[in-house]
């Protein structure tokens, strides 16, 4: 997800009703070892559906559109983002 900060990503996903864990995960030494400030972690379990996975992917794309050009010092004018396809509709068409 490029340089998007885990907490920014977590908030965007939260807006879409997706719960993830973001940050240190109580492992600061590991994060230091990797030289990162944190990670965003999505976990799946038996109750998660395929649609929910699509929703996550869609939401990640949205976060990328929102933040991709925004890393400090790397701003570039972004082409108008293509509207991400709505995954649930796709599934219905099948």
């Amino acid at each position: 997800m490029g340089s998007i900060h885990p907490h920014d990503l977590g908030t965007v996903l939260d807006e879409d009703g997706i719960a993830v864990r973001a940050g240190h995960h109580c492992c600061q030494p590991l994060m230091r070892r990797f030289g990162i400030s944190g990670t965003t972690r999505a976990s799946f379990y038996i109750y998660n559906t395929e649609q929910e996975v699509d929703k996550l992917a869609h939401s990640l794309e949205r976060a990328k559109t929102l933040f991709d050009a925004c890393a400090p010092g790397t701003f570039k004018v972004q082409e108008s983002p293509k509207p991400a396809s709505e995954p649930s509709k796709k599934t219905q068409k099948k």
Partner: protein
């Protein structure tokens, strides 16, 4: 499924991608560190003070868009101001973030910072927005204790 406009307003993203007064200072009058251990945000704040005025300040560090944009907005709001004015500005900003005072009531110096009003709705993110402002208060304390000594 709409973008959280209220939180990530264009003005916030603008400060995030092109932070004002960003960088280090060779010989600051005060250097203060701020850290948010819960989310790993780190901030260095450099101040040049002439008499009663903050004539220049710079910040460096890493963190999420909210913490970086807020720091950038803060530098714009307080540079060139007297220490008393700075304290009043910080207090106004914290009043909005912590006590829910309306953004419209804020002085013009905090024009850009008004855009952070939406952060109120995300309690876990309020501390991101406050990191730089609290670090500035600590820097002022340091300055005052030095003057008193």
């Amino acid at each position: 499924m709409e973008i959280p406009d209220e939180l990530y307003r264009e003005v916030i993203l603008d400060h995030y991608r092109s932070p004002r007064h960003h960088g280090k200072m060779e010989k600051p009058d005060v250097l203060e560190w701020g850290k948010n251990p819960l989310c790993g945000d780190e901030l260095e704040l450099y101040l040049t003070v002439n008499g009663d005025k903050i004539t220049d300040l710079k910040f460096d560090g890493k963190g999420c868009s909210i913490s970086q944009a807020s720091a950038s907005m803060m530098t714009e709001a307080v540079v060139g101001k007297s220490l008393a004015q700075v304290k009043a500005i910080v207090s106004d900003f914290k009043g909005m973030m912590m006590e829910g005072k309306p953004a419209d009531a804020l002085p013009d110096d905090l024009e850009d910072a008004k855009s952070l009003e939406g952060v109120q709705k995300y309690p876990v993110r309020i501390k991101c927005a406050l990191l730089s402002w609290n670090t500035l208060l600590e820097a002022l304390k340091k300055l005052e204790s030095r003057k008193a000594a």
